[in-house]
Symmetry: C2
Subunit: 362 residues, 2 copies
């Protein structure tokens, strides 16, 4: 049975990319070696690595004011790396729109004067605070946001206006829609949602921001360590970089992020429209702030939610259980989720609604 | 042409493991999903992860006084994590036996009172200082060694006797020979030499040592963060853990590390014996301190060294170029290098010697 995987990450990857990886796994580029056993200093791997960086710059339209870094440790490690690298005055404002934003704030507080400028905790993170009405402090090193909130299914549709550089955790939305990198000082993303296997973290940082890390910053967390070595200071996560490169190449071949975005908009619309027109399912997120990547929804009861998840799994629609802090279901529909996956989900939702509305009535 | 890869890391992996990974790449354990796209919270991945930890404990004979952690960032990140976690008094002694040992020392000095208790820099790291004659300071948090020196081809054959816990970078020798874990407070290793793909770091740490990190220690570098979450605090490098688990399983099936060691001893003996009996090739390392994993050697001239490397490559014996700080050649013969790879290398060395001795004479 064909399986559609709605996991929040690690999540579905492109069929074509997986087939290429499998085909070449024992003999990459006629080298007689697997990509997983090649020296990171070999010509073979360096080509993959440099292609990956070049392609990402191209599809995200990143100019030479920025450095593209391929790191490890996930977004969680960036929660520390960001303040350790960017604190000169030791002051930053954070907007807290979910659990990961809150974790990022907690880490930054260890190193400086950090204030929560706005939060949507009052309504269990079901909205994004109005960015135009936030008063940021002056003399900040940066303002930090979490641009798509994986657990709660929200997303910024406009960015806060701030004198200070904007830092954004784009883990669950990178490459799903176009972003204007010139509006940011730094963005970071774990790869395991829209890029490739877990184990790679992408950081895109304005060069002028990364030259004065705090003295206590570990060398491996210092951006300039990796920038100065083209992300080859020590052995990088080669296999993840290889699969990321293939994903970037595929996006380019599809016509760029602009085209990927159209498909994502289509997929999300199909699902939200169906939910909005149903009296059985609902989504609690404020309309204007809905994520295109993570769609939480519920049925009329927690019992039916459980039944939904288990029957969906039996039907090849897996990892639909919502995060424990939200409950219900969550369909993560990242770039690699095909339209037919969303259509199959909606079909199943219809059937489940019919069966269980009847059951409730009788 | 069959290729034998003598890279210092990433390096050769087991043929059987690679075949299994390729076979199951599109459909792991009949899940309909690839291992690279599964949630790290899924039953499928958790089984892989827990099996990996259990198998490593088994083949290394690790008891419950120790925590096995699957982390990211490589050994280089441990150069910071070790002092950040273990410094209570803020005092440690380091033995410097190569470039990585020196880097580890430099990092630790950022956080406390660190002294080089012994070094072999005087002879370009061609030996291991006599561990019995080292005077360590008192009241140390730990003593740090680099147990096998990848670049220089040396290895400790006995451990320093110290009151303080012993911390060892075992990156290029883990699982190549039996070690008695009870003699250590902590060992760490990047996976890309004897375990699996780059992107996984294994840390084995005595539980009693990891409970009082320095307050400036980033949460992601804190051992207890990962210990408390069974190394699933955030998304781990799932694919690397999967391949590591398969490598551990293979070692167990082969009869354990004891058997692997016998083969490694045989491979290293073949190569050293040939070099020692040749007047053309030489190895500069003190006999008693020779590595079983990394064998540096030279011909009579730098020109012949270059010729050797390029002709060897043409003959399917790749990545034999020595590190720039040593020159010449280096054959890394980790666990996955078959005996026939070493035999092929020796055969080529013989041919090269014959051709070039003649050439020099004529």
């Amino acid at each position: 049975m064909k399986v559609y995987n709605f996991s929040a990450g690690p999540s579905m990857l492109s069929e074509a990319v997986k087939l290429e990886v499998q085909r070449d796994f024992l003999n990459f580029s006629n080298s007689g070696m697997s990509i997983v056993e090649m020296s990171h200093r070999s010509k073979f791997f360096e080509d993959v690595h440099n292609q990956g960086i070049t392609l990402l710059k191209e599809i995200m339209n990143i100019n030479d004011d920025y450095e593209v870094l391929f790191l490890q440790g996930g977004a969680s490690q960036q929660f520390d790396a960001v303040p350790l690298n960017l604190f000169a005055k030791g002051r930053a404002d954070y907007i807290v729109t979910g659990s990961f934003a809150a974790k990022a704030t907690t880490e930054a507080k260890k190193y400086g004067d950090v204030v929560i400028a706005a939060s949507s905790k009052d309504k269990n993170y079901t909205y994004i605070p109005n960015v135009d009405s936030i008063n940021f402090r002056e003399n900040l090193d940066y303002v930090h946001i979490t641009q798509n909130n994986t657990i709660f299914g929200t997303r910024y549709t406009s960015l806060p206006k701030t004198e200070a550089p904007l830092v954004s955790d784009v883990s669950s939305m990178i490459l799903s829609e176009e972003i204007d990198i010139s509006k940011y000082g730094l963005v970071y993303a774990g790869a395991q949602k829209n890029i490739g296997p877990a184990g790679l973290t992408v950081v895109i940082v304005k060069k002028e921001l990364m030259r004065t890390p705090m003295p206590i910053c570990p060398t491996m967390l210092r951006y300039s360590t990796h920038a100065d070595a083209n992300s080859l200071y020590n052995t990088p996560p080669c296999f993840c970089i290889y699969m990321a490169m293939l994903a970037f190449k595929e996006i380019k071949a599809l016509g760029g992020v602009k085209e990927v975005y159209k498909t994502n908009l289509h997929k999300a619309s199909l699902l939200y429209d169906y939910i909005d027109n149903s009296s059985f399912y609902s989504n609690k997120v404020f309309l204007k702030d809905r994520s295109l990547m993570n769609v939480p929804f519920i049925t009329p009861s927690a019992e039916l939610d459980s039944l939904f998840v288990s029957q969906a799994t039996q039907n090849g629609l897996v990892s639909l259980k919502g995060h424990r802090s939200v409950g219900g279901m969550r369909a993560s529909i990242y770039n690699a989720m095909p339209v037919e996956g969303v259509e199959k989900l909606i079909l199943f939702m219809k059937k489940f609604e019919m069966q269980n509305k009847t059951a409730l009535r009788s």
